[in-house]
C-alpha cells in the first residue's frame, strides 16, 4: 500500500505501528533513573527488618561521617513536615486508619518501612552509609493472617487504633431497590453452593523500578517520577507537604510499566522532595528490585465467602458475598476502595434477582495493598466464574449452558443490573459462539470424556470465563457518591500550529499503552491531517496542565474522547476563518479530509491554510480571537463495559501435579477499536498476568512478617517459556456512551483469565472428587489436592 493510499483511509480502526517505538527500540529513552543534573545527590533508604516494633534509638553518627555523606534524615527530623500520606478514598464516614508517615517516627508496622535516609554524593556512598545506621527496636507482636486479624481480640497491627478493622461496607440490592432480599432467596432456593476462595497477595512487578528525582533549585520545584499519576501526585504532594501547588511541577517521563503499582503517592517521593528542599540541591532516589518488592504496594489479598442460590433448572436466584480484604499496614492512595470496585462486578453478566456484598477491610503488619491491574474486578470475576462452574457441576449442566441461561441477552440492553449499574451494550452470545468455534469446544469435551474413560494419567480440563468489567473510573458524580476523593474527567487540548502541524496534549499520561499513536489516529481523522503531522504530548504538568492520569482502563474512553472533542472545537473555530477566507457563509461550508469547501463549488481551503491565516491574523473576521487552539474536559456519562468469553484447556498430570495450558482462546468485545494492534497487545499482556495469578505468583510472608518472596528469584513472574500462545479475536458491540463506541481494554485480559485457568484445572480433577485448588495452582498444590482426595479427604 502506498503512503498516499494509507492517508486516504480512515485512521481509526487501522493497525498503525506505534509512534513511541522508535526511541524505545534504539535506547534513546528518558527513564527517570537516566537523569543526571548538575550537583545532583543520591539517596539510599534504611528500612525496618522487622514487621512491628517501637524504634528505641537510631544512631546515625557513623553514617553521617562516612565518605561522601551530606545529610542523614530520620523520622524525627521529618516529623514536623512530612504530614501523612494520603488516602483519597475513605469508603465510610467512620473509616479507621493510622497516621501514615513517609518515614517511621517512633514505630514500624511492616518489614520494609523506611526509618532513615542517607543523602550522599554517589549512590554507592549513600548505600554504604546506610549500612552504618544503627537502629534499635523493641519488637511488638505481629498480626499477619487476614482471617485471624479480623477477629475480636486479635493482636493489633496498630495498638493505638484499638481494632484491626478499618471499615465495613455493604451493598444490598433490597436496600438499594435494585433487587430482592438475598437471605430470602437463599432460604427459598432449591440448591445453594457455599465456597471460600482466597485471592492471594500479588506484586505488580513492573520491570522499571520506581525512581524519583527532585530539583529544588528553581522557583518551581520539579519532580521527575516513574509514576502513572503526575497530576494526582502534584496535588497530593502539595496537600501533604504544605508546598503550594503552584510551586510544583511533576514530570512522568518514559515510565516502564505500572499496572496500578505506580498509582501511588509514595513515601520515597515525599522523602526525596523533603530532602531536596532541605539540602537545596537535586536529589535522586532509585529503588532496587528488592526494595520494590517490600515497599511498593501489593495487590489482591482477599478472602471471599460466597453463597450462590439457584433453582434446579440452573436459574440463579441470589448471590451473597462476604469479603475480608487485607489492607496491609496502612491505607495508600485508594487502598480502601479497591474491594469496593469489585462490589459492582460479582453479578457479572448475569441477571441475578438478589445480591448482597459485605466487605470488611482489615489491617495486618504487611506491606500495604492498593491497585493492581483490574483492582477489585479480577477478584469478583474469579468468585462468580468459579461459582458458576461449581453450580454447573452440582446440577450436572454444561457450564456454558448454565451461563447462557443466566446471562443478559443481547436484545435486553441497556440493562440495569442487580448491583445498580446500567450496562449500555453487549453481546455475550456472539462472543461465546466465536470463542467456542475457535477453541473446538465440542471436540475437547469429547477428548476429555475419552481420557476420563480410560483413566489417563494426564487428564484434560476445560475452563470458562464469561466476564464483563466496568472501566473508566467514572462518571464523577458516581465517584462522588462512593466517597472517592476526585472526579473522573479527563482533559485534552489541540494546538493547530502555524505550519499546519498539530500538537495534542493529553492529561492521561501513558506508560506503555500507546497513547501517542492512538490519539494521533483519532485527531488525524477529526482534523483531516496526516497521522505523521500530529505530536502527542503528555506526562508533564507544565505541558499538560490538567489531567487525571492513567489507570482503570480509562484513557481512551475519557482521554481519547477529550482529544476528539478538542479537535472538533478546532474545526469549528477554523470554520469561521475559512468562511471569511472563502467569502462564504459558515453554514455553506463542508469539512472533509482536512478541507473546507463551499458546497457545490470547487472553492476550498485546507485547515493548514486556515492555521497559517489565523497565525498571521492580518485579515480575520471582526472581533475574532486569533487562535484555533482548543481544549476539552470530558466527564463520561457512564462506565464502559467490555466483555468476552475466555476458554482454557489444561492438561493436568495427575502423577506429578503439573498443569500445562494446552490452548487458550479469548474473544473480547471492547467495542469499536482505534488500533487493533494495540488492543491485541493489551489482551495478551492482560491474559498473561491473569494466568500468572492462577499458576505462579504469590507474595508470601514468614511467621515474623518478612517477605520471603522478596526478589524475582522467589516471586515467579512468568517468562516466555512459562506461557502459551493465545488465540485471540474480537467481536465489536459499540459502547453507546461515547462517540467512538470504544470501551476499555487494559485490564480485561487479567480480569478474565484467572478463573478460566483455575476452572480448567478443577474441571480436570473433578472426577477425583476435587472441587478446588487454591491459587497459585502449583504442581505441589495440585498434587496435594489429589493425594488428599484419593485418601478420602476433601481438597
Amino acid at each position: 500500500m502506498t503512503a498516499v493510499e494509507e492517508r486516504a483511509a480512515a485512521e481509526v480502526g487501522r493497525p498503525r505501528k506505534r509512534k513511541e517505538d522508535r526511541r524505545l527500540i534504539t535506547g534513546r529513552t528518558r527513564w527517570t533513573d537516566n537523569l543526571m543534573l548538575p550537583g545532583m545527590l543520591h539517596m539510599a533508604m534504611v528500612r525496618s527488618p522487622i514487621a512491628h516494633g517501637r524504634i528505641t534509638s537510631i544512631d546515625v553518627q557513623a553514617a553521617s561521617q562516612a565518605s561522601g555523606v551530606l545529610l542523614v534524615l530520620t523520622g524525627q527530623d521529618l516529623a514536623e513536615e512530612q504530614g501523612s500520606l494520603p488516602n483519597a478514598w475513605p469508603i465510610t464516614d467512620d473509616q479507621k486508619a493510622p497516621p501514615h508517615p513517609a518515614m517511621a517516627v517512633d514505630r514500624v508496622a511492616f518489614a520494609g518501612e523506611i526509618v532513615a535516609a542517607i543523602i550522599a554524593r554517589s549512590a554507592a556512598e549513600a548505600r554504604d552509609a546506610a549500612e552504618l545506621v544503627d537502629v534499635e527496636y523493641e519488637e511488638l507482636p505481629v498480626v499477619l493472617d487476614l482471617d485471624a486479624a479480623s477477629k475480636e481480640g486479635a493482636t493489633l497491627a496498630h495498638p493505638d487504633l484499638g481494632t484491626n478493622v478499618s471499615a465495613t461496607w455493604v451493598f444490598d440490592s433490597a436496600e438499594a431497590g435494585s433487587g430482592s432480599n438475598v437471605d430470602d432467596a437463599i432460604r427459598d432456593s432449591e440448591v445453594t453452593i457455599e465456597r471460600t476462595y482466597r485471592q492471594q497477595r500479588l506484586i505488580p512487578g513492573f520491570i522499571e523500578p520506581r525512581s524519583v528525582v527532585v530539583d529544588p533549585t528553581h522557583e518551581q520545584i520539579t519532580m521527575w517520577s516513574a509514576t502513572q499519576i503526575p497530576h494526582v501526585l502534584k496535588l497530593m504532594l502539595a496537600l501533604t507537604t504544605d508546598t503550594p501547588e503552584s510551586k510544583l511541577r511533576v514530570i512522568a517521563p518514559d515510565v516502564g510499566g505500572g499496572f496500578g503499582g505506580k498509582l501511588q503517592v509514595t513515601p520515597e517521593e515525599v522523602i526525596t522532595l523533603l530532602a531536596a528542599k532541605r539540602i537545596g540541591r537535586p536529589v535522586k532516589y532509585t529503588e532496587t528490585r528488592s526494595e520494590n518488592m517490600v515497599s511498593g504496594h501489593h495487590g489482591r489479598d482477599q478472602i471471599q465467602r460466597l453463597t450462590l442460590a439457584a433453582n434446579r433448572d440452573g436459574t440463579v436466584t441470589g448471590f451473597k458475598v462476604d469479603l475480608l480484604a487485607d489492607m496491609g499496614a496502612y491505607l495508600g492512595l485508594v487502598t480502601s476502595g479497591i474491594p469496593i470496585l469489585g462490589a459492582f462486578m460479582f453479578n457479572a453478566i448475569y441477571k441475578f434477582p438478589s445480591y448482597r456484598f459485605t466487605c470488611t477491610n482489615v489491617f495486618t503488619n504487611k506491606t500495604w495493598t492498593d491497585a493492581y491491574r483490574g483492582a477489585g474486578r479480577p477478584e469478583a470475576t474469579y468468585a462468580i466464574e468459579r461459582m458458576m462452574d461449581e453450580l454447573a457441576a452440582e446440577l450436572d449442566i454444561d457450564p456454558l449452558e448454565l451461563r447462557e441461561k443466566n446471562w443478559i441477552k443481547h436484545e435486553e440492553f441497556p440493562f440495569t443490573t442487580v448491583a445498580g449499574l446500567e450496562y449500555d451494550s453487549g453481546n455475550y452470545e456472539a462472543a461465546t459462539a466465536k470463542a467456542k468455534e475457535m477453541f473446538g469446544y465440542d471436540d475437547l469435551r469429547r477428548e476429555q470424556a475419552e481420557r476420563r474413560e480410560r483413566n489417563d494419567p494426564v487428564q484434560l480440563g476445560i475452563g470458562i470465563s464469561t466476564y464483563t468489567e466496568m472501566c473508566g473510573l467514572a462518571p464523577s458524580r458516581v465517584l462522588g457518591a462512593l466517597s472517592y476523593g476526585a472526579g473522573g474527567w479527563e482533559h485534552a487540548s489541540v494546538r493547530m500550529l502555524a505550519s499546519g502541524k498539530v500538537e495534542v496534549i493529553t492529561g492521561s499520561s501513558a506508560h506503555g499503552q500507546g497513547h501517542e499513536t492512538a490519539w494521533s489516529q483519532i485527531v488525524a481523522d477529526r482534523l483531516g491531517v496526516p497521522f505523521e503531522d500530529i505530536e502527542v504530548l503528555h506526562g508533564d504538568t507544565h505541558v499538560a496542565h490538567k489531567g487525571m492520569d492513567t489507570y482503570g482502563s480509562r484513557s481512551l474512553t475519557i482521554g481519547g474522547i477529550a482529544a476528539l472533542r478538542a479537535a472538533d472545537k478546532v474545526v469549528e473555530k477554523a470554520r469561521t476563518v475559512a468562511a471569511h477566507m472563502l467569502e462564504a457563509n459558515r453554514d455553506d461550508l463542508e469539512f472533509e479530509g482536512g478541507k473546507f469547501t463551499v458546497k457545490g463549488t470547487d472553492k476550498s481551503v485546507t485547515i493548514g491554510d486556515v492555521a497559517l491565516h489565523t497565525f498571521a491574523a492580518h485579515d480575520l473576521p471582526d472581533g475574532y480571537e486569533p487562535s484555533l487552539d482548543s481544549e476539552a474536559t470530558v466527564d463520561p456519562e457512564n462506565f464502559s463495559f467490555p466483555h468476552g468469553t475466555h476458554l482454557c484447556a489444561v492438561e493436568v498430570d495427575t502423577e506429578t501435579g503439573e498443569a500445562k495450558i494446552r490452548s487458550y482462546v479469548c474473544v473480547d468485545d471492547v467495542g469499536s477499536v482505534v488500533n487493533p494492534l494495540i488492543v491485541e497487545g493489551q489482551v495478551h499482556g492482560g491474559v498473561a498476568q491473569g494466568i500468572a495469578q492462577a499458576l505462579y505468583e504469590e507474595a508470601i510472608h514468614d511467621e515474623s512478617g518478612t517477605l520471603v518472596t522478596g526478589s524475582l528469584v522467589d516471586y515467579l513472574v512468568p517468562s516466555a517459556a512459562d506461557l502459551p500462545t493465545f488465540g485471540s479475536d474480537r467481536t465489536e458491540t459499540p459502547a453507546t456512551s461515547n462517540p467512538l463506541g470504544v470501551k476499555g481494554v487494559g485490564e480485561a485480559g487479567t480480569i478474565a483469565s484467572t478463573p478460566a485457568v483455575v476452572n480448567a484445572i478443577v474441571d480436570a480433577l473433578r472426577p477425583m472428587g476435587i472441587n478446588d485448588v487454591p491459587m497459585p495452582c502449583s504442581p505441589h498444590r495440585i498434587w496435594q489436592a489429589i493425594q488428599s482426595a484419593s485418601s478420602g479427604g476433601q481438597s
Binding site: W31, I207, D254, G514, G681, S711, L723, G749
Partner: protein, 156 residues
C-alpha cells in the same frame, strides 16, 4: 581504582573505575549509555542484557573490570547508518513492546538467540528468552518478532 580499556559500540574508552562498579553502571553512569537499563538485583529480569564480544551477557551481573580488553555492544550500537537492526525492525513491526523497559535487553538477547540458532522453533525462542522478563506483552508478539527476524522462522 582499576584502569580498563573497553570498546563500546565501536568507540574505544580508557577509564579508571571502582573495582565493584558493575558493567551496567559503567555504561549508564560513565558513558551515558542509558539505553541499557537495570531492572533487578538478582540477574533474573535481563533488562540489562548487552553483548560482550558478540555474545549476550547480563551487564548487571558482571563488573566493569571484567569487560577490560573486550568489545561491548549495547542497544545503542546495533542500528547502522540510521537503519534499524532487523530485530529492532521486527519488534516495531509486530508490536513486540509496550512500555519498552525490557526491550533493549530483549532485543539483545533475541539477536544472540538468532546468532546461535538462525531458524528457531517457537519452543526454542521461548526457551531462549527465558532469562528476560517482560510484564507488558505476554511474550506473544516478542516471539513473533523473533520469528520475523529469523527470515521466515522455523516450525512452530
Amino acid at each position: 581504582m582499576a584502569q580498563i580499556n573497553v570498546n563500546v559500540d565501536g568507540v574505544a574508552y580508557s577509564d579508571d573505575v571502582e573495582p565493584r562498579m558493575l558493567l551496567a553502571q559503567y555504561l549508564r553512569e560513565r558513558l551515558g549509555k542509558t539505553g541499557t537499563v537495570i531492572g533487578c538485583d538478582t540477574s533474573n529480569c535481563g533488562a540489562c542484557t548487552v553483548h560482550l564480544d558478540g555474545r549476550s551477557v547480563k551487564s548487571c551481573a558482571m563488573f566493569a573490570v571484567q569487560a577490560d580488553g573486550h568489545d561491548v555492544t549495547t542497544i545503542e550500537g546495533i542500528a547502522s547508518n540510521g537503519e534499524l537492526h532487523p530485530v529492532q525492525q521486527a519488534f516495531h513491526d509486530t508490536h513486540a513492546l509496550q512500555c519498552g523497559f525490557c526491550t533493549p535487553g530483549m532485543i539483545m538477547q533475541s539477536i544472540d538467540l538468532l546468532t546461535e540458532n538462525p531458524k528457531p522453533t517457537e519452543a526454542e525462542i521461548r526457551l531462549g528468552l527465558e532469562g528476560n522478563l517482560c510484564r507488558c506483552t505476554g511474550y506473544q508478539n516478542i516471539v513473533r518478532a523473533v520469528q520475523q527476524a529469523s527470515s521466515g522462522g522455523g516450525e512452530s
